[in-house]
Symmetry: C2
Subunit: 342 residues, 2 copies
């Protein structure tokens, strides 16, 4: 099983995750209904931190909670346990082995706050530290670059958010097929990466829900393809980093339908005027037409769930760009599967 | 007045800010003493977002608050006003003109939460939206790249944190002289940037309090010198982006004394083994000796206040690297002083 196998396995893994026990979600939702919270803090590193960013938009927009990403060093380096009040504190880690994430969750639990671990290793230290545990049930992830544990982490967050909002689960049940549809772009993605093989720098722009996708796409490009890929929300991009763009440095833009679309389309038109090469990932043909290259995303998904699907072509892009650059996606430089940061 | 003048003006500006009225801070602290809070959310973009990151560590470590950075798009793009409960909600913006930051603060105020604006324009929309306003009193900032409004934003946060903790203000009073001492490295910084003129990519690593400095240093390098400068906390760096480093791509490491120092020193030794060129900014000679290049930071500052000073050599570095690369630091490409993101 290599990285590509794990990317292609995601429809099946998503199906398995959705069929897995919802007991932890049900119990946590019952507790939060009895004792409402306003705040949610999420501690995570690396790829899991991008799942946390998705959670920030999801629980903000769907559940109207104030969501913050924890700075784990406050606990692990400075030894201070911030007061969490009645926040829900969530740790996300596929291995469940990172001491700093465990420390944040353990500190919150000592204060009596509800705590949740989202992990592929429920028997891990993180699983032991949290009161509630959602098992990703993604099966062993052998590739160093996380893919299926990312999409299942997003799914787990979406299940919890939907259950807390009392939403029906039909839309979630459509995700495995949507991931399968997203995988069909592989031949086109491979063709594009062939043209971009000399790319050693790039900017990736998302907004709102797709900001998490931009961050995760960039990380995959860094760790696998050794590309300096700089991810931004469109708003922050205009606050300085736009100075980086110039002909020859591609800008990858996530511009699917939704509330963030108008701003993304304006950005695409501005970049076109500046003769910058863009790659557009979108479910809207008019948006794709604004890019030099484009990748089609499956249409018809609710905006709040789409990041679970839109990362999939980006994973394929990173995989094939890595090979186009003569590197081995299954042997990324300097990295190991479990990173135990303190 | 150009960018360099504003960098050099910072000791005087810091002195002026510290002498400015503390009425807003006193009133806010009195309110927070009467009605204690556990949570603080900060909304900001660009350079101000890096002040917010400093605030996350500062109020976490010194005041044991749970601090989150707001995702302004939740309000401005998706039209949802998250419940803030009894959080303190802070907006930071030198111009006070960014509609998305104003929207976050206004939404919190409508809910009755205490709100604070930190701005160089107290008469701005942000100043009008917040119940409490700290005037940076930095004087007009004309250069597109923010420098003196960054250091005064940090100072404003440090004043508030210290007042809330009931700390004496002596250490704060030493900051203007420390900034003046930090400016003395300019000839050495100019010499180093001459050697690095061909740098078009780089990684910047901070940890804990100095993570904000790494982020702001990177932004200055992007917007002024057009360098793909990727900032990381050391923990996140090990989760993937370390794959980017190789001989010829310098890594700039903030490694001053303090709780985060042991990890940074280990990272420097690892990078040396991999023959990566590092530049070390530190107040400790042993740490500096681990780098191919080094910049001395003034010694003896409390760790929680040092980011106000350690950014200053980084600003000089960005200014001189920009010139060494044949670019004009006073005319950054595509940027304007006020960015009104929605």
């Amino acid at each position: 099983m290599g990285l590509r196998d794990e990317i292609l396995e995601q429809p099946e893994v998503a199906r398995r995750h959705l069929a897995s026990s919802s007991a932890a979600i049900d119990a946590l939702v019952a507790r939060l209904r009895a004792n409402p919270i306003y705040h949610l803090f999420i501690a995570a590193r690396g790829t899991s931190d991008h799942a946390a960013i998705y959670g920030q938009y999801l629980f903000g927009v769907v559940n109207a909670l104030s969501v913050g990403l924890a700075a784990p060093s406050v606990v692990s380096v400075y030894g201070v346990e911030p007061r969490v009040g009645r926040s829900l504190v969530v740790g996300i880690s596929q291995s469940g082995a990172s001491p700093d994430i465990v420390a944040v969750v353990a500190a919150a639990r000592r204060q009596g706050a509800p705590t949740l671990a989202i992990t592929n290793a429920p028997d891990s230290p993180l699983g032991a530290a949290a009161e509630y545990v959602i098992d990703l049930a993604a099966g062993p992830e052998r590739a160093v670059a996380a893919t299926k544990t990312y999409t299942t982490s997003l799914l787990a967050l979406a299940r919890l958010s939907g259950a807390l909002a009392g939403e029906p689960t039909e839309a979630l049940q459509g995700i495995p097929d949507a991931i399968a549809a997203a995988l069909e772009v592989e031949p086109e993605v491979e063709r594009i990466t062939g043209e971009l093989a000399s790319m050693d720098r790039g900017v990736i722009v998302g907004r709102g829900f797709e900001y998490a996708t931009a961050r995760e796409w960039a990380l995959k490009l860094k760790e696998l393809a050794q590309v300096f890929a700089d991810p931004y929300s469109a708003a922050d991009f205009l606050h300085g980093p736009i100075a980086l763009v110039q002909p020859g440095i591609p800008v990858l833009v996530l511009a699917p339908a939704g509330a963030a679309a108008p701003g993304q389309l304006q950005l695409l038109r501005d970049l076109r005027e500046r003769r910058v090469d863009t790659l557009v990932a979108s479910d809207v043909a008019d948006a794709r037409a604004l890019g030099r290259w484009s990748i089609a995303l499956p249409a018809g998904l609710p905006e709040r769930l789409r990041p679970i699907v839109s990362i999939v072509p980006a994973q394929l892009f990173a995989y094939h760009l890595t090979r186009a650059r003569g590197l081995d996606p299954d042997q990324p430089r300097y990295l190991s599967k479990v990173t135990r940061t303190v």
